[in-house]
Symmetry: C2
Subunit: 462 residues, 2 copies
């Protein structure tokens, strides 16, 4: 069995913890694993690591690779050259898998749902496999526990089909009255976006309902490398797999997901799945609370003190704080959109910015200057680069640095410093075994990330 | 006429904006002046600058002097060598004033109340002066507008005494039922801590009711300088002027304060006095709100986003955030006490720490290192000092620095840097006309403020 992890997704609904460049699947809340890592670990119970293929946007590639590197050094991560919704991504990833095995069973899972009971998940997958072998595209339905209006539903015929049901129809997000009716009828399930198929069956159905995608997918050449060519991918329409195939095909079966499931689509749902204290609060991080109840308070760095709050969500990050009525957490998306409109970068990035080589934080900013704390992981190096508008000064705070400056190499120990003049060609490198931390003091008339000319880069960013 | 501004006071009730080392009177909320500065400016309408004497704790001295320097270069600020409540402070300041004039009228005011209508305040003071000339200690009573249980009350006899009333008794903070009774009776006033007396009258009453304070006060010698000697001051008991004199003397009169008055004793009262928007919100700083009402949201630096909140106070500072039910803002004091018990410095100081020469902010901290952004005001210098546990590295980010390092003098321009080795005797100075900003990178086994040996200091801190 093979698996495709859909690891795209935006960062709007769990803002300010999630950002456009650091979305939900990369977060770990109340866990030592991110949702992506937990998803990957769950699949490892079902198949060898090398059978798991993740696909994500280019902008998340280094973070996804970085998080999965903990499981395997040569994990397969495909990068979508442009955003095209799920159908093109699944078509490309399926073609990629078919270069390894002619016609395997493929399990497709989102990277950002929470499933705690892996054993039951595995047993559902095993049941689904029989249906997939019979030529069905099997979708995993979640039995609704309340009349949710935020999910799509799948309606099934009552008579069983092996361990599942034949799907009658996919229906859009209902209003509350309709959702209540669905709940009563007992043949409606939530659509959790998990499904399984034989590669050849999916390709046949694409051929039948999305011939253009099918034809373009044939142009992919994964025989030499795992790069999805922009010129090929870009020819595909932007369409979801539900709309492209699932809602049209007559080969769709549903199997009831036997484990727990939560899409963690809002702070309300994070609260719901988290362990509570005696006042029904979820207090995470450096929190001093007096007399609050039914609230979620998340501190990532600063002290947060709450007094007498009820049914409230407080989320603190280094550069933005959210205080929200717990019943209105869907509106967080509106804040995200407001920031986007205002060109306020806080919808996009955290104060700490992750790069393939490590991360940095802007620690101080003033008229004509800026300082950063730069963290370079072992064996990593920043590109060979120059700046037209700023000089830099580096001080090594921990570890050891190798610096290339105008073709000369310097080794800097803790406490050593070096000047990087305007326009000098330079690279900061950490070829050593321990983390490197430096303070960078920038001086200049224009202090922006875009003021960079790259000459060489081990991550292909030239 | 002379005046004493009582500028002590702790920072517990407006935490996290106020701190032990940066209390309420130093804050400016919705104003370009701090409460202390507004108090000083109000008194300037009544008397020459040199007749206004402030008295504060040693720990606030440089901040108080710094804020008042905007009004006059040689403003009188007395420093209490130890905390002894209001009676000893008033006795000392009265003696100080009596070295300038034999028996003047003295107006005593707290530094942290808000009075917007200066004209009416001045007219009340003028009426009070007549009573003070007649030998009364005149207290300014605030007519209660609701049954407040957080203030002390003053009960007066009904028949007028000049423009005021003779005081019958001072009463403690009442319960709600008693407060309602006071409101109905119409002879009860709030005690706002403002009063006026002839110096000789106060000294006589001290002699009668607090002979020990009176005797010790005679030992002060302000003929040469304005220093309150620790050895003298420390002999005094710690007692409030209310308890020491006001509640005992039969020479107490009350005059009704004709202006507005607010003690700004809680975030609730800050909300009350602030202008509201159409949703009855007070939104200060970088705030994005959706559908909140009746709330106060104060951002000092980060983005704060509020969604659907009601009757809530949110206060953001660089290192601590408060989210509080607006009806429970009195409990902020409890958080302050909890932090004090936990030895969490956030009750004491802000991330930005004010010094006589300017201020600094810790911008980054890691294993064995720490970095600061240091701001030195023009014509100021840090002490000549050395450290036993850390080396330092300085980079000039703006302005120009003079550095003394082991008796050698260096001038550093923007972008220049210098190493300060372990135990080297050094001083950072700004003899120039513009602000100096440097980044300091500290490296060492123990990175604490106490690791400092001072050899010379222009602010007397050796």
């Amino acid at each position: 069995m093979y698996s495709i992890i859909l690891a795209g997704g935006s960062g709007s609904r769990l803002w300010p913890l999630s950002r456009d460049l650091y979305p939900k699947q990369l977060l770990n809340i109340n866990s030592d694993k991110s949702l992506l890592q937990a998803t990957f670990a769950r699949l490892c119970e079902l198949m060898p690591v090398e059978n798991i293929v993740s696909i994500t946007n280019g902008k998340h590639l280094s973070n996804v690779k970085g998080q999965l590197a903990e499981y395997s050094k040569d994990v397969s991560v495909l990068s979508e050259p442009t955003a095209k919704n799920t159908a093109p991504a699944i078509a490309a990833a399926t073609k990629f898998i078919m270069t390894k095995e002619e016609d395997p069973i493929i399990l497709v899972v989102p990277s950002d749902s929470l499933i705690k009971n892996t054993k039951n998940f595995v047993s559902t997958v095993n049941k689904a496999e029989k249906l997939a072998q019979e030529g069905y595209i099997v979708t995993f339905g979640i039995e609704p526990s309340y009349p949710e209006t935020g999910y799509g539903y799948i309606n099934v015929l009552k008579q069983p089909l092996l361990d599942g049901f034949r799907v009658k129809e996919f229906v859009e997000k209902p209003d509350l009255k309709t959702a209540k009716k669905y709940l009563e009828e007992g043949t409606y399930y939530w659509n959790g976006g998990i499904f399984m198929f034989k590669a050849s069956v999916m390709m046949e159905e694409l051929k039948k309902y999305q011939p253009h995608i099918f034809e373009v997918a044939d142009e992919f050449d994964f025989s030499k490398n795992s790069i999805i060519e922009y010129n090929v991918f870009n020819k595909m329409p932007s369409i979801s797999i539900d709309y492209a195939v699932m809602e049209k095909s007559d080969k769709i079966a549903l199997i009831k997901l036997e484990s727990d499931w939560n899409d963690l689509g809002s702070w309300q749902s994070i609260y719901d799945v988290s362990p509570k204290d005696e006042n029904n609060n979820v207090l995470i991080g450096n929190v001093v609370d007096i007399d609050s109840k039914d609230s979620l308070v998340y501190s990532s760095s600063k002290l947060v003190s709450t007094i007498g709050m009820e049914n409230t969500v407080v989320v603190e990050t280094e550069d933005a704080i959210l205080v929200c009525d717990k019943d209105k957490t869907q509106d967080v998306k509106k804040v995200y959109e407001i920031l986007k409109e205002k060109h306020d970068d806080r919808h996009l990035i955290h104060k700490t910015v992750y790069r393939p080589w490590g991360f940095y934080t802007v620690t101080a900013q003033g008229d004509g200057f800026l300082s950063k704390l730069i963290h370079v992981n072992p064996k990593q190096k920043l590109s060979l680069q120059s700046h037209n508008h700023r000089s830099e000064h580096w001080v090594v705070m921990s570890g050891k640095a190798k610096v290339i400056l105008d073709s000369t190499e310097y080794i800097l120990d803790k406490g050593n410093s070096i000047d990087i003049p305007l326009k000098a060609i330079h690279s900061l490198q950490n070829p050593f075994d321990t983390d490197l931390e430096i303070i960078e003091a920038q001086l200049g008339d224009l202090l922006i990330e875009d003021d960079i000319i790259r000459y060489e880069d081990m991550y292909g960013r030239v």
